[in-house]
Structure formats: C-alpha cells, structure tokens
Symmetry: D4
Subunit: 248 residues, 8 copies
Amino acid sequence: MNAKSLRELFESVREGRVSADEAVARLRHLPFEDLGFAKVDHHRALRQGMPEVIFSEGKSPAQVAGIFSRLAAHGGNILATRATEAQYHAVSAQFPKVEYRPLARAITLQRDRKRHGKGIIAVISAGTSDIPVAEEAVVTAELMGNRVRHLYDVGVAGIHRLLAHRSVLAEARVIIVCAGMEGALPSVVGGLVGVPVIAVPTSVGYGAAFEGLAALLGMLNSCASNVSVVNIDNGFGAAYVASLINRR
Amino acid sequence: MNAKSLRELFESVREGRVSADEAVARLRHLPFEDLGFAKVDHHRALRQGMPEVIFSEGKSPAQVAGIFSRLAAHGGNILATRATEAQYHAVSAQFPKVEYRPLARAITLQRDRKRHGKGIIAVISAGTSDIPVAEEAVVTAELMGNRVRHLYDVGVAGIHRLLAHRSVLAEARVIIVCAGMEGALPSVVGGLVGVPVIAVPTSVGYGAAFEGLAALLGMLNSCASNVSVVNIDNGFGAAYVASLINRR
Amino acid sequence: MNAKSLRELFESVREGRVSADEAVARLRHLPFEDLGFAKVDHHRALRQGMPEVIFSEGKSPAQVAGIFSRLAAHGGNILATRATEAQYHAVSAQFPKVEYRPLARAITLQRDRKRHGKGIIAVISAGTSDIPVAEEAVVTAELMGNRVRHLYDVGVAGIHRLLAHRSVLAEARVIIVCAGMEGALPSVVGGLVGVPVIAVPTSVGYGAAFEGLAALLGMLNSCASNVSVVNIDNGFGAAYVASLINRR
Amino acid sequence: MNAKSLRELFESVREGRVSADEAVARLRHLPFEDLGFAKVDHHRALRQGMPEVIFSEGKSPAQVAGIFSRLAAHGGNILATRATEAQYHAVSAQFPKVEYRPLARAITLQRDRKRHGKGIIAVISAGTSDIPVAEEAVVTAELMGNRVRHLYDVGVAGIHRLLAHRSVLAEARVIIVCAGMEGALPSVVGGLVGVPVIAVPTSVGYGAAFEGLAALLGMLNSCASNVSVVNIDNGFGAAYVASLINRR
Amino acid sequence: MNAKSLRELFESVREGRVSADEAVARLRHLPFEDLGFAKVDHHRALRQGMPEVIFSEGKSPAQVAGIFSRLAAHGGNILATRATEAQYHAVSAQFPKVEYRPLARAITLQRDRKRHGKGIIAVISAGTSDIPVAEEAVVTAELMGNRVRHLYDVGVAGIHRLLAHRSVLAEARVIIVCAGMEGALPSVVGGLVGVPVIAVPTSVGYGAAFEGLAALLGMLNSCASNVSVVNIDNGFGAAYVASLINRR
Amino acid sequence: MNAKSLRELFESVREGRVSADEAVARLRHLPFEDLGFAKVDHHRALRQGMPEVIFSEGKSPAQVAGIFSRLAAHGGNILATRATEAQYHAVSAQFPKVEYRPLARAITLQRDRKRHGKGIIAVISAGTSDIPVAEEAVVTAELMGNRVRHLYDVGVAGIHRLLAHRSVLAEARVIIVCAGMEGALPSVVGGLVGVPVIAVPTSVGYGAAFEGLAALLGMLNSCASNVSVVNIDNGFGAAYVASLINRR
Amino acid sequence: MNAKSLRELFESVREGRVSADEAVARLRHLPFEDLGFAKVDHHRALRQGMPEVIFSEGKSPAQVAGIFSRLAAHGGNILATRATEAQYHAVSAQFPKVEYRPLARAITLQRDRKRHGKGIIAVISAGTSDIPVAEEAVVTAELMGNRVRHLYDVGVAGIHRLLAHRSVLAEARVIIVCAGMEGALPSVVGGLVGVPVIAVPTSVGYGAAFEGLAALLGMLNSCASNVSVVNIDNGFGAAYVASLINRR
Amino acid sequence: MNAKSLRELFESVREGRVSADEAVARLRHLPFEDLGFAKVDHHRALRQGMPEVIFSEGKSPAQVAGIFSRLAAHGGNILATRATEAQYHAVSAQFPKVEYRPLARAITLQRDRKRHGKGIIAVISAGTSDIPVAEEAVVTAELMGNRVRHLYDVGVAGIHRLLAHRSVLAEARVIIVCAGMEGALPSVVGGLVGVPVIAVPTSVGYGAAFEGLAALLGMLNSCASNVSVVNIDNGFGAAYVASLINRR
C-alpha cells in the first residue's frame, strides 16, 4: 500500500538512512497514484449521493448482475440504465430489493434516501414516445436525492397544454426537457423560465429526423440562452447535470 | 409556323391529295411541340397574375437589366429577387417605374394590381435577421395580388409575443413562417391555427446551424401536421405556393 | 370545471362580494387553460372533419387498441397509420366496423362521410415501391372528406406515361407527388400544372439514396415554384396539408 | 390599457349591465396578452441582472449603435458580442462609458455592478486560438455579476499543465470549458471535478475539424456525466447558463 | 382506340363535315398519348435486346413470380436482380428454363442469344467481397448480348496482380470496375486504358466506409478522366451503360 | 534510352560476354519503366486526338502560360479549363492563335481538326446558370474532334421545351446533361433515348442544394438505367468520357 | 515458370537463334508478372512473420474454413478476425491446433513464434466496451511477434487511472489507443509520451457518436502531433502498423 | 521553487520537526506540478531534436514574430508552418538566419543539424497541387534531423510513373503519401512496400472532393494494412509521426 511506502520513505529520512536530496529523487519515481488519489477522493466527496451506474445495453443478464454485484459492495445507490426485464431478473435473484422501472428501462437499488437537492427538478417531454428518455431522467434524478416533477406530452404544436402547466415550470430550480422530431420544446420552455434548462434530444421520429440529429441541431441552436444540451437519448446525463445544479 | 403546317395537312386531306391513313401517319412525325403547346397554354391561364421572375444573385447589373427588358415585353408584373441596388439602378434607367424594396432585396414592376387572392396571407418571422427572407415573401405575395399581413420578431423563446398577436394568425387563409436557428416557430404557429403553414428555413445562425440545415430539419420534422417546407431562404417560393393556395 | 369557476367569479362581483379590482387580480391567477381552451376550440372547428390519428409504428397491438378506444369516444373518423395486421385485429375485436387498408398499412374508422374538400386531390407516385406512401396519402385524404384520384408508376424516366394522363393532373385542385430515388417527379408535375404540389420524398432506393435523403434534397431544390415538401415517407402529412388547401 | 378593459368588464357586471354568463363569453374574446403578460413579468424578475445583449455580427456600426441606444433606455448592463472596433466607435460616440474588450470582441456598458453569483465561475480554454470564445464567456459572466477565474492554454496533450492548476478547478462552482479541434478538454475537466461543466466547442482547427463539428460531437459524447454542451463558438450562451447556475 | 379517332377526324375533314381550321383546334384537344406513343416506340427499337428487369429485393417469391410471368409474355430476355433462391424456386415452378446465378443473386431467362455488342466488356473487381456486384454486372451484360471477361481480386494494394492481367484490359471496349472501401481501382484502371470506365462503388467495408460513401466519393473524384460513376452496388446499371456503349 | 540498353544486354549475351543466367539477373534490376513504357504507349495511340489539358483555377497567369508553353511543344490540341481572361492574355502573348471562350471559361489551341467522333454529342443543360459547365463540355468535345449540338434551358419544370427538341436527342450518339438544383433532367432525358447519358451535377442552386450535392445524389439515383455520373461541375470529364464513347 | 522462359530467351539469343532486336520485341510481350514478381518478392521478405489474415464477418463457417485451409498451405501464422465461435468450430475440425480468443473474436494458428519486434507495444483502451477492438490489436500484435502490454478502462474522465500506469506508457516503443465516444484518449496519451501513437476510433457510444464518427473526427484533430489514425474498429490495422514500426 | 519546497519538507522530517505521518499528509497537498514536471521532462528528452512549432495561419506578422522570439530563447530548431512572406519578413527582421521555404509556406530556423533519424523518409505526392502539403512534410522532416527523398506527381492514374521510381520507395524506412481528390495513392504505395505509410489527405479537388473529405475517407478505408492517416493537409503531423518512427 502506498500511504505505507510514503511513510516508510519519511521514516528513513527521519532516521537518517536516506538524505533529503535522495528522498526528493526517490519521490519522483514513486507511482503517481499514490499521491494523486488523495485529491481524487476530494471530489469523491462532492459526488456523495451520486449512484453507481451501469449502462446495460449490449450486456448479457449475467454480465449486468456481475457488475451490479461488484458495485453493490461499496454501498450507496445503484442504477442500471437501458436494462431489460431479463437483466432485472438476473440482478434481483441476488438483490431482492432492487426495483425495475419499466418505463425508464431502469434497475434501481436505493439504499441512500437522503435529500441532496435543494429544490425541484422538472422533467418535461414533448410526446408520448419521448417518455422512456424522460423517465430515465426522472429515475436518475430521484436516485440522486432530488424531488422531481414531470410533465409529459406538452409538445409545441399544442402550446396551450404547456402554458396550462406553467406552475410546474415556475416552481422548478432546474428543468430537463426531452424532445424528438424538431426538438423545439426546450426553446419554448427556456423562454418561459429564468432557470437552467437541460435539453435532451431523443431519437423519436422518422425520415429527416435522422435518429435524433434534427432535434439535436435544433436544441444547439436554441434562441433561448438558458439552454444547454446533452447527447441524444441521454436522460441519465441530463439528470446528472441537473442534480449537480440542484445541489448548488 | 406550325398551326399553319397542321392546317395544310388538313387542307390536303380535304382536297383528297392525302388519304386519312397517310395523314395519321404524317401527323405522328410532326414535331411534338406543335401539338403540345396548346395544352401548356391552358395552365398558363391558371398562372395569370403570377409575375415573371429573375433570380438576380450572381448576375451583373447589365444582365439583370437585359433580362428585365425582355420579360417586360410580355406585360404583367416583374420581380427581380436577391437584387442589389446597383442592379436596381441598371433596371430603373430603362424602366423608371420600377421600385426597389431594400429589405426584401427586390426590384418590382407592378403593372397588374388586380386582387387574385381570396383572403389574407400572413408572413411571420422569428428574429430580426430573418426579415430579408420574410420581406421577399411579402413582396412576392403582394405582386401576385394578395393582401399580406406581417408579424416579425415573434420567436419561440418569447412565446407571449406570438400569442399576443393571435388575431393576425386567426384572420389568415395561409401562413408563411420564416425562421433560422432551431426553426421551431412553424410548429408553434401550426399548432395554433387550422390553415396551411408554409415553413421557410433561413440561413440565420452560426455554428451548428450549418447554414440553415438545423432549421430545415426541424421544420421537416414538425409535429404540427399542417406544415410543409420550402428550400432554405426561399421566401419567393413560399409566397408562390401561398398565392396558389389563396386563389383556391 | 372552469367555465363554472369563471362564472362564480362574475357572480361574486355582481353580488358585490368581490370588487372589480380584486376580480382582475384573481383572474390573473386562474389557471391559464381555463381561458385558453376556448380559443383553442375555435380552430378545433376549423379542423372539423379532420380524423383523430394514431402513429402505430413501435406500438403493441394492445396499445393501439387502447388509444383507438379512447379516441373513439369523441366521435369522428379515426386513422391509425403504419399499422400491422396484428394491430388491426386487436382494434377490430372492439370496433367491428374498422377497415384495414393493407397497401396503405392503415386502420380506418369512418363515421363522418361528409365531403369537406371542394375539388379533387390527385395522388401521384413514381414507382411501385412508392405505393405504400401514396396509399397512406389516399386513405388520409379520403378520411378527411376529399375526392381522391391516384396515378401510380409514372416515373420521370418514362415521361410519356405521365403526359398520357395529364387530364388527371388538369382536374386536380391540389396534387400530392410521392417519389423516392432522385425525387424528380414533383418538379415535372409542378411544371405541368398551376396548382399547389405537395412533394413527399420516400425512402425507396438504395446506396446513395441514403434512406430518402437524395429525394428530399431534390424536392427542396425543385425548379418548379409551386412545390413544397414534407418529411420522408410522410404520406399522412401531405394529405393533411392537401386537405386544408382543398377546403379553402 | 388592458387591466383597464378587464376592470371595466367587472364594473359592468357589478352594475348589472352585463350578466355573469355574458361576461364569461366576452372574457374569452379579450386579447390574450392582457392576461398573459403578468406571468411573463414574473420571471423577468428572475432575470434581474442579466444584461441586454446584441449579436453584432453582420450589422453596420450604425445599426449596432441604434439598437444599443434603444436598449440603454431600460437601465441595466448592455453587452454587444462579436463586435468590431468600428462598431465600438459608433457606440462610444453616444455612450462614452462603454468599454471595448478586444480579445472578447465585446462592447460592454456596466451600470449594475452587483454581485449576483454565489461562487466563482472558471473559464478554461484548450489553445490560444480558443481565447476569443473564452473571453466572450468571461466578459458575459462578469457582466452578469459573477466572479470569474480563467485558465488558458491547458490542452489535453499537455495534461500536466491542467493538473498543475487543479486549485482553480477546485474552487469553482461552475466551469466553462472552450475547446476546438478534438474537443477533449471538457471530458478531462469533468472527470476532475464534481460541479457542472458547460462545454463550448470552438471552430478552431482545420480539415476534419469541419468548423467545430469534430469538437461538438466529441463534447456531446463526453464520458464525463457532468458535461452539457452549447453551440459552436457560443461563449455567451455558456456564460449565461453558468450564471444562472451560479445564482442557485 | 386512338389511331381510330385520329382517322375519323381526317375522314370527317375529307368528307367536308369538319373544316381544316376546326380540325386543327380539335386536334389540340386530343389526348396527348395518342400521338406520343408512336415516338416512344421509336427508341424502343434502340433498346432491342435489352432485357426486362425486376428488382427483387423486398418482394415476396410470389410477387417476383407474378411480375416475371407478366414480363415473359412480351418475349425477350428477363432478368431478376437481387433475387433469393426462394424467389428463384417460385419463378422456376412456372418457367422451368430460368436459371439461378447464385453469385450474382440473379434469376435469368435468356431467349434472345443474339450478339448485340461489338467488342468485349471487361468486369473487374477489387476484392472477393465485391464479387456479387461484379457478377450482377457480368450476368446483365451477358443477357444484353455482350461478350464478357472478368478479372477479380485485383485490388490496388497488390497492383502487380492487376498489371499481370493487362491483356484483359487491353482487349476490352468498355470496362466496368467494382470496388468498395477506398474505391481506388477505377482510377488505376482508367490510367492504364484508353476506353470508357464505368465505376461501381460497393458497400463493402466497415467504419468510415459508410456503406459505400467513401468509395463513391473516391470514384467521383477520380484523377482519370475516362471514369464515370453509377450508384453504390449498382452492377446492373453499370452493365446497362456499358452495353449501350458496346453497341455504338 | 532503354530499348537501347535492352538491346545491348541481348548483344552481350549473343556475343557470349554475358551468360543467360546473369542476363536474367540483370534484367530484373533494369528500371521498371524501360519495359513498361512500351505498353503505356499502346494506349497513348488510343488517346490520339485527346487534347492536353490544364486546370487553370488557382494558378497565376504566368503559371498557366508556362504550362501551356511546355505542352505546346508536343503538338496536338491544348485546352485550359476554368481560365480567366487574364490567364488568356498571358497565354496569347506567346501563342497568338489561342482562342478564349468566355462562356466556357476556356483557352483553346486547336491544331488538330480531324474528326475523331463517329456521331454527334448532344450537350443539354437545365438552366441558364448551368451554361458555363455545359459550355466547358462543348468546347472539350469539339477539341476532341466531335460534332456537338447543344440545347440549353430545357429544365424539367417546363418539360414541353425539352420535348419540343426531341430531334436533337434523337440524332445524338451520346448525350451530356448538366443540371443543378434537383438534378432531375438526366432521368427525363435518359428515359427518352436509347443512348448513354453522362450526367454532370452543377453547383447551381442555394440552401439545400449544398453546392451541388442535391443534384449529385439525384443523378446517382436516377431511375433511368442509361445514366452515369461525373463530379460536380466537371463538364470537361463528361466530354472526355463522351468522346471516348463516340469513337467506339 | 518464368525465370525459365526468360532464360530460354537468353539461350536462344546466345545460340543465335533469335536476334537481339527480336528478343527486345519478344520481351515486351512476356507477361508482366514474370518480371514484376521478383520485386514483389523483395518486400515479401520484409513482411516475414506477418500472418495471413481472414476477415471473417459475413462469411459462412464453411467459407472461413475453406480460406483457412488454403492459407495454411503456405506456412506461417494465420489470423481470422471478427470470427464467431461457429466459424472457429469449422476451422478447428480441420486444424486442431487453432485457438479461439473470444474477447478478440479471433481464430489464431501460431506456427511461427519468433520475436520480430524490438520492443513492447502497449494497447490501451478507454472503456470496457472498447475491449474487443483492443483485444483484436493485442492478438494481431502477438501473432506478428511482438511483446504486448495492455491497459484497459483508463478513459479520460478518470485521468488519474491513466496517470497511475504511466510506467506502461513509458516502456512502450509504440502505443495503440482504442477509444469510442469522444475519442479523447489518444490526445492525452500522445501528450504523455514521445513515441508514435496509433489511434483506433471504436463504434462504441450512441446518439451523436454516429457509429464511431465522433471518435474518428476527434482523433484526426488530435492536438498531439504524434498521433495517426486508422479506420473505426480497425484493431487489426493498428497492430499491423505498430508491428512494422516495432521492427524498425 | 518546488524541488526546494520538497527538500525543505524532508529536512524538517529529518530534523524531527515534522513527523512522518504529517509529512505524508502535507505532501498530498503540495501542488501537483511540483512532482509531475520531473516525469514530463523525461520524455522531453525523447523529443530532443523536435523543433518548436508555430501554426501561423490567422496570425499577424507581428504575432508570429513575437512567438518566434519567445521560442527562440530555448535553443533548438524553430518551424513556422502555413506562413506568408509577410510573416517571414517580420521574423527575419529579428532573426536574419531564418529561411523562407515558399513551396512549403514555412519559416525555418535550423540551429540543430544533428541527424536523428536512422534511415530515409520518402515523401510522395499525387499531383502538383499537393506539393505545398508535401513540402511542409519535407521541411518538417528535415528540421527533425531526417534524410528526406521526395517523389512528386506520381498519381494513380499514371501508375507507371510511380512504378518507375520504385527504388525510392524501396530505400525508405517510412513513407509519407500526400494525395487529394480520391486519395488512392497511399493504398497503391502501401501495397508496394513493407514499411509504415503515413497518409495525408489534401484539400485538393472540387465538387464531391468536399475539401478533402473524399481523400480522407478513402485513406481511412485503405485496403493496404500498413497505412495510417493524419488530418487533411496536415503535412507537419505526418512528418512528426514519421520522424518518431525513423528514430526507433
């Protein structure tokens, strides 16, 4: 262990077996991580309450269960995104307390239920097909200790539905907006509020939607200045960013 | 001339110099256009009131003036789009009655002032930078004999500005919506009205706007079903389509 | 209910229990939709005869049947696009009167047979592979109360076939043109007629067709000014726009 | 004025000149904005301290000066981005107190010097060519009332330079990272901190950088979960989002 | 029938029942195709020996057999490209003389064995994976009455293999070159010969081959001036063009 | 010279100064080209009458004149494409017989006026803006010894204009079709004739024309099987291929 | 055999049966490869120890076994990449000594175990999903006679993990870096070492990763000058290049 | 200074003023770079002989001169790439010994003339327009202490020219190949040699060359396994990689 080897170096110096000059030289050849980890741990603390995460797509149920098991050893919450029911069953065989959230395609193990976020995170989606991405954001934000409100199916072609729920927008400290097709909703929402909006393009649509590219480009060009963007279908990432903001 | 040669054929038949069978055979070898033009003329009539148009970009003032001069011989309105002031001066030297519309970058000669459109065409634009494209649509629609109303700077990030002018939307028979950046405005407008919306993506924006591509893709993926789209910056084309609809 | 709460507010004013000033203040805090819906209903009227629509792709038969059932409660026509036969059977178990149009991949329930359109909508397609998209347009237009004529397999490489049926073009008030590959047909048709042409690029083709991108770009750059464009394979959207035009 | 017309309606009801039923009906036809503006103003407040902004690119010096003048009437800070020196001179002729920040290509008028942000915003850039974008972020953040620290030329190919300044990262509440070429810096920074990172791709680079596309895609695919992205070269937008977060 | 109606018109003229002037007018309203088909037939002749073609991909065995059956009624050769063995069995049940060429994925019925081409068409392919496309070209060219030589697996990374067979190149009147990946072979071949080279990009490759896009762009930018290009994987089209050239 | 060195080797063998074995060994070390050139010269012959060509874009007048001068030493025709008038003046100072063809932007020196082509090459263009590309094809084909007919401004939106000149199409042995925007003309022409069609996409257009990409994709996806394609704006290449075909 | 026929030619000359002139003429008609192969063999030698390679994707087990069998006749190592277990079983039925490396999806037959490389090749990957590509590189490099060290899961968002293993980097003569998503790892590694880095973008990621395009562009724009790039997922190619370097 | 502060820490330990435990703790808070720089210096040594480099594009002559001046303080060679003559004059005013290499657009100051490379680097280019990129590679490689041979204008459409110079290829230890348009040359060269080939796509070409994209994709898909690729027009990067290889 490396705190140990460092200590031994200092002991040697203290005992006069190693000169200061030689100690400096030796130190430079000690493996880097021995020193670095301390600092890394610093911001580990900042991440307190952040769940361990498994991206389940393309993994076998056994693989997901295996990784889950390893992460579970550390304590804290665990989240497996893009998970199938088969993967869930493999995990729940070992961890009966895990839950499966089918809409979000997520397996969750919530052991830390502390509230880390100061306010409410609103999750809004444009169409019913965007709900899986929105739900991934909801589940992630909840597991990170936030109060979450959602508002679904409030696309821009029926602007009155969104306006009718402006109170939800008004009470949020951060807002996540998921939209496919033309991806216009974040701009409209951004214009209605004075808080940060995290836009999530979804791969919903066909033809010239180009698997989410149209929505992505739309959001990057938002005329609302309070909008920033994450990857297509990345509900998890949006919730992660929103959680960090909500802890400020 | 070809009505003449046709006539001669019939005369020959009438006079017995050519049998019916041979006439049929000969007819098949007559040049195509002799017959075809008639039908073409049919829908010429439908186009009555449509101006002759010059796309001025990349042409010298002399070239624009030359084409203008040729078209002016036929009567009717003339419209030169994407025109510079220099091109205007070259034209106005010959045609003192032409006007220059600087916002629309258009030279116009309006000789037919008949109202062809049944109702109002509304032209809406998202930002001030979209105005040149919107104005091209306005001028075109006017020259085609339509009443036009415009509504500028009503982008989706300030949705209340648009909503405040819903009466303009309500009274239009067709709506043209010009927007750059994320191109979201046609969807919102489309959701508020029950009339056809012609969406014009503009090349306004920078970076991931990719010269209008973002807006174009957004509009093609509009979640409002009453939206159809024309080429980037094609204010003229939008007004042309809108005029045809307004004459129905 | 909200007309009720509004009424109560006025009653309170009338009875002197609430001052005019206070009423103004309270009104501002009433939920938005209470007021907004009224206006929305206005253009609902404009949409009279427009069917309720389900995009069936990616939904289970049970889900389609469920949504169908909910929409059926409102009266009017119902259209499920991109529907499989399995989805049809799930729906027809509850609604024996629904029809399945296999070419169009559509489930229809036609309860309103009123003619809303003033003239004929022509639906034209370039190749036999474009027929499913064209048929989606036909079915949609019929359900919206239009007389529809179709003309299939009249691609530009055999221009005489198209020209041979110019009478169909001549009698249409609006024309929908579906084409994949190079997407050239709308330009040719647009040049032959004086009415609005709605172009639908299809994903038919291979290689550099790039799933409809070639046709889409071709149509957006049409040299015929009366052409506007909808999304790739969006037969429904084209018919929706055409229906609105045909009601003008 | 519209509070007035509302008031008159209530007075009429109170005086019995208008029945409650009729009042409800009339209300529905009142212009929308009369009611809506109130709510809009709500979040105006939230935006307190946000500067008015002019995007100067493509505008003449006279146009920039004109818009500046109009905005200056409202009080508060004013920021003109992408401004040339010529535009600055046109503005400073009227507003001698404006400053020109050449690195940031920004004209600023700072009348509100209140500190709105709770902590420090760090602005980091990868190469010297990214500095104009980074400086735009710095100036914007300052004008929005934040303390700002910057760290330039700490690209990923010399990772020790970044690591040597980890203290700057450690003390920030939000971090803006500007990078062109491969756009890798946000991922590295994101991995070192536990706070939100706003990534700004820049158009720096050549060849396969494709005007910032490479950096943009890189950032959207960041393996660090605390990264969200704004448009290429959008230093202003990044600072706007960061300021909102820093006020939380 | 229309030759009939034309004849009747001439008879009427001959008999004096219709004046020449009126006949001209009536003629203009005769359906177009009556006259047009004659001319179409002209170049039919030019196409003599060209097979009827079915693009089988995405069609059921029954559909392919149905179309085959219809085309077989006209005489001449028939070619079904992109055909599966199942489709072949469906066809051969009705037409025992059809052959299946598995490498080319083609069903052929060769009834016209006349030699139409003047010289040899060489078909060259870069790698073994390009063979299906090359074989489609071979089969097509053979069915169109050409002598065909092929040369496979002579990619540019082993240039000596190509050079070793220069005699094949030397004796060809037209050359078809199929290549995937970087698509460099047509340039090298083009530089070695003085005859037209038809380049066929194939979708062979992975990653940045982007389904044939890399090869396509390479071929369009060939530094050899005698190269023209057809669509990705379009072995049929290349052979069609080559056959026309070989008949000159 | 290398036939000489080869000869010497054989003489040495004949005279017994070099053994057969050693001769084999030496031969293997002779420079490759000594043997290869012979074969190369073969197809030189095939290229007889092909002009030497200079791509003038981006070169100074002096550079063009210099290269011209060097090529002129070999005899035969010389063609400088994409040439400016300034480049022409620099060349004509030395070669008074050169001509400048402004529409084609070409400098030509025609010393060989032999007719090499068997028939007529038709050059067709869709719009007036495509003429420079078409003229480059015309000039190139003429310099290669072909009779050339051109047909301009016969775009697909006015199909009757093309049909009216079908005789031009009918008499051509090869056809070059230049078109920008949607690039549909080659398909229509291809469908009307039974000869090879070389399609040249042009960069004419704006917005979604993407500098000729739309036309290029359209042409690659042509539904007419007799169409092959060259690079955007490559009038020279099209004429080169057409000339080779016309010599068959 | 061709050295033989060359010899015979020289013998004939020596014996006076063939004149020197005729010999020169005959020589020119000898098949090219007779002379060329000698030179080709030269660099064959350079390739000594390079395995014969089969790209197994899309081939049937029987096809892979067949090719394997043919290559095995030449001696040396054989590598089948992108191989399935089924393909392995087909091969091992004939060659019991082959091994299957499931992580690398490779079948190997190692008959030459000579060390050809001078130093160590390090193979580094960013995430666990990149391991198959990295393992392909490992297996390839091993079969080419190199000592290989690997370092997995050292992505840039956890830079300390990479830094902790700098000794692995320090001892390598060439480094292969595999990374998907943003593809930033090669830049960081490149900045830490003074040896050539071969970057392999992987198709790992989703959404805007666009199947490896984001990583590819990132790597091409690396700010570290010692980085060159191979195709997406091309672990084999990277190891091939690295092996050549390691033999220098 | 930081070796100093480290030393002081050890002295304190030695003198008993600080315990070993506390020393460990303190060490962890020392600024990172104090320790890290040492290691960085290690590979500095590896980079011995590598020039300092300035990317001059977009910089004023004064800026280039300023940076040059700063770098010149360190000794060693200096290279300014993409430099204009004006920039050269600004630099040479201060450093009379600098040279300007106009073909390479490079300013060089060569103070270290030691030979670092073991063998020859060959630089090959396809067309005369690729020469600036090739020359940048030549100059860079020379400044890094390599013997360089170049071979220009040996494009794949005249393969005999390349083959005629195979001796140049044969004697190289590393080969750099620059090519625009279809970018096929690296594959051909790669197939002829057994050494690493660094491919540099150039932006030479027009139309579908898309500023070097066609060449880039071609090279990434090279069928020769010994090819790796750098950014478009990146002659410097290619030479840098080649130099590292040549030092192995």
